[in-house]
C-alpha cells in the first residue's frame, strides 16, 4: 500500500452533500421493510461503554445485554460487538465466550491520541493480547491539521502492524477536522495506510457522527473500491440514538455503496442507546402500542 495522491482527492461541495443527504432522509420505510431494516441495524451495533467510571460490573452488564437484547421478542439478532477500554477487554471476552459477539477495544491513547508512538503501540498490543478482536484507534488530529500527513499515515500503518489479526478501525474524529475536505483527506490516508474500517468519532466530541460526514467517508470507500476492488468498512459513531436515524444511515449506505455493504462485516453503528430505541420500535411493530423505556433493560 502506498501513500494516497493528495492532489487527486476530489474537492467536496458542502451544499451538494447536504442536498443529497436530505434526500436520503425522505424514504418511506414501512412494515416488513422497516422490520428488516431494524433487525439489520441491531446486528450492526457496537454496544459501547467508554467512560472513566466503567467498572467490571458495568462491562458484564453490557455483555449480558449484548447477548440477551430483549428476550420477549423472538428471532432477534445479536449485536455485532461490545466496545470497551483495553483494561476491560479480558472481562468482556470472558463474558462473551461462546457467543459470536466480538470484543472491540479502543486504543492509542483514546480519545485524544496525544501520546508517543511507543505508548500507542504498546496500548494496541496490550488490547490484542487481552483478546480484542477489533481495535479502534484514533488518529493524531493535531498533526493532521498541521499538515503532517506522512506522520499520520505512518502511525496508522504502525498500529495496523501491531494489531496482527485483529481488525483495525481508524477513528478520524471528524468533529475536530472542521471541513468535509479534511474528512475526505483523512479518510483516504487511513484507508491507504491499512484501515479495515474507518470510523467517524470517539463520541467524546460534539458534533459526533453526522450524515454529511458519513456520506463523504462512504464515497472515499467507494473510490477506493473502484480502484482496488478492496472493500473497506464504515462505522459512524456517536449521536445515532434513534431507530429512525439508523434507518436513514442504512438508506444512505445502500444507495451509496450498495447491498454488499449491508452487513456487520462492513458497516457498524457505534452507539449505546440506539439498541433500546430499535427494540422499542420492534416491540411497537409487534404489539401496535408505543413503548416506554420502563420496560427495557437499562444500558
Amino acid at each position: 500500500m502506498s501513500f494516497p495522491d493528495l492532489l487527486k482527492i476530489p474537492k467536496i461541495d458542502k451544499l451538494g452533500v447536504q442536498e443529497i443527504v436530505n434526500r436520503f432522509c425522505k424514504r418511506s420505510i414501512k412494515t416488513s421493510a422497516k422490520k428488516h431494516g431494524l433487525h439489520l441495524a441491531l446486528s450492526m451495533i457496537d454496544l459501547t461503554t467508554l467512560e472513566g467510571k466503567d467498572t467490571t460490573d458495568k462491562v458484564r452488564r453490557l455483555c449480558y445485554k449484548a447477548s440477551h437484547l430483549h428476550n420477549s421478542l423472538q428471532g432477534l439478532p445479536n449485536v455485532a460487538a461490545v466496545c470497551v477500554y483495553p483494561t476491560l477487554v479480558r472481562v468482556a471476552k470472558k463474558e462473551l465466550e461462546g457467543t459470536k459477539i466480538n470484543v472491540a477495544s479502543v486504543a492509542t491513547a483514546f480519545p485524544s491520541g496525544q501520546s508517543t508512538l511507543d505508548v500507542k503501540l504498546s496500548d494496541t498490543k496490550f488490547a490484542v493480547n487481552e483478546g480484542a478482536d477489533e481495535v479502534d484507534m484514533v488518529i493524531s488530529r493535531g498533526k493532521f491539521l498541521a499538515g503532517e500527513y506522512n506522520f499520520v499515515y505512518d502511525e496508522i500503518a504502525a498500529v495496523k502492524e501491531a494489531c496482527g489479526k485483529a481488525h483495525l478501525k481508524v477513528i478520524l474524529e471528524t468533529g475536530e477536522l472542521d471541513t468535509l475536505d479534511n474528512v475526505r483527506k483523512a479518510s483516504d490516508i487511513a484507508i491507504y495506510a491499512g484501515a479495515d474500517f474507518i470510523k467517524t468519532s470517539t463520541g467524546k466530541i460534539s458534533p459526533a457522527a453526522t450524515m454529511p460526514v458519513t456520506f463523504v467517508m462512504l464515497n472515499a470507500i467507494k473510490d477506493y473500491y473502484k480502484k482496488t476492488g478492496i472493500k473497506i468498512g464504515m462505522k459512524p459513531a456517536g449521536g445515532i440514538s434513534t431507530a429512525k436515524i439508523a434507518l436513514q444511515y442504512l438508506v444512505m449506505l445502500n444507495e451509496t455503496l450498495g447491498y454488499d455493504w449491508m452487513n456487520k462485516d462492513l458497516f457498524r453503528f457505534g452507539a449505546s442507546s440506539l439498541a433500546n430505541d430499535v427494540l422499542m420500535q420492534l416491540q411497537k411493530q409487534e404489539s401496535g402500542y408505543y413503548q416506554s423505556l420502563d420496560y427495557f433493560s437499562k444500558d
Binding site: G288, Y289, Y290, Q291, S292, L293, D294, Y295
Partner: protein, 286 residues
C-alpha cells in the same frame, strides 16, 4: 386603500414549539351559522408520540422544581392570560359565546389558575399522613406526581375546561399532552401561546388539535403515559380507554361534569387525582 386582514395560522404545541402537524392534514372549524373560522391541524398519532417524548424528557426536572416555583409559574400564566383577555373573549365569541359568557369564562380561567397556584405548596400537607403501625417504624405517606398524563379536554368550555383540568395536573409535578376541544380548538392554541410566554418549561404542557375518534386509542395505549384524564360522556370512548389503559396499568380518571364554571369544579382533590401516594417505612429505635 383597504387593508387586508392578517389571519392567524393555528398550529399545534409540542415541546415549546409550534409545529404544523406531521401528517400535513387539517380540518375546518365553523361557527353555529356554518361560517369558516379557521383551519386547524388534524394531529396524527405521530404528533402525539412526539409530544410524549417532549413531556417525558422534562417530567423529572419539572417534578423536582420547588413548590414555590411551580406556583409562581402558574401565577405567571394567569398574569399573561389577564393581559390577553380581549383576544380570548373574541375567540370565544366567534364560536358562539355571548359577550357576557365569554368574559365570565376568561375571568374564571384566570381565577382558577391563581387558585391552583396557591395550592402548589399546600396540597402535600392535606394528602400526607403519618400512619400508626405496630412495628418500630416511623410510617408516613406522601403524594407524588404520576408522571406523564394524557388529557382529553372537555368539548364545551374550551378554555375554562382546559385550564380546570390542566392546572391541577401540572401543579402536582406532572407533564401532560392535551387533546383540545374538538368544537372550539382555537382558544386552546392561543392558550398555548400564553403558556409559551409564561416560564412554563418546554414540554410540560403540549397541546394537540384533532379528532377524538382518531387519537383516543393512542392517548390510552401509549406505554410511556402513566395516567389518562377523560372529560366527556361517550360510553364507547370510555370503554376503549379503559380497555387499552390496562396494557400498562395506566390510571384512568373520568370527569363527567357539564358545567366547568361551577365553583365545585375547583378543589385540591383535582390535584390529588394525578398523584400517587408513596408510603415510607422508616426504622426507629424500639
Amino acid at each position: 386603500m383597504e387593508r387586508i386582514d392578517v389571519l392567524k395560522t393555528y398550529k399545534i404545541f409540542i415541546g415549546g414549539k409550534f409545529p404544523r402537524t406531521e401528517s400535513g392534514r387539517y380540518f375546518h372549524v365553523k361557527n353555529d351559522t356554518g361560517e369558516l373560522l379557521a383551519n386547524m391541524c388534524l394531529s396524527s398519532r405521530k404528533d402525539f408520540r412526539n409530544a410524549v417524548v417532549a413531556a417525558r424528557k422534562v417530567q423529572k426536572s419539572w417534578e423536582s422544581a420547588s413548590a414555590l416555583n411551580k406556583g409562581q409559574v402558574l401565577y405567571r400564566i394567569a398574569e399573561m392570560l389577564e393581559g390577553r383577555k380581549s383576544q380570548f373573549m373574541d375567540e370565544l365569541m366567534m364560536s358562539g359565546s355571548s359577550k357576557i359568557a365569554a368574559k365570565k369564562e376568561v375571568e374564571q380561567s384566570i381565577d382558577r389558575l391563581i387558585y391552583y397556584a396557591g395550592w402548589s405548596d399546600k396540597f402535600q400537607q392535606i394528602f400526607s399522613s403519618v400512619n400508626p403501625v405496630a412495628s418500630s417504624h416511623f410510617n408516613f405517606s406522601v403524594p407524588q406526581a404520576m408522571g406523564v398524563v394524557s388529557v382529553i379536554a372537555p368539548n364545551k368550555f374550551s378554555l375554562l375546561g382546559l385550564v380546570s383540568v390542566v392546572a391541577p395536573v401540572i401543579v402536582g409535578g406532572n407533564t401532560c399532552i392535551v387533546l383540545s376541544s374538538e368544537e372550539n380548538p382555537m382558544v386552546s392554541i392561543s392558550f398555548a401561546e400564553v403558556l409559551n410566554t409564561s416560564d412554563v418549561p418546554h414540554g410540560v404542557v403540549n397541546i394537540l388539535t384533532g379528532k377524538r375518534k382518531e387519537l383516543i386509542s393512542h392517548f390510552a395505549s401509549h406505554k410511556d403515559v402513566n395516567a389518562i384524564i377523560y372529560c366527556g360522556h361517550n360510553n364507547k370512548e370510555l370503554n376503549e380507554i379503559e380497555k387499552l389503559s390496562v396494557e400498562n396499568l395506566k390510571r384512568v380518571k373520568i370527569y363527567k361534569r357539564k358545567n366547568w364554571g361551577d365553583q365545585k369544579n375547583q378543589s385540591p382533590y383535582f390535584i390529588e387525582r394525578s398523584q400517587e401516594i408513596k408510603t415510607i417505612w422508616h426504622p426507629t429505635e424500639v
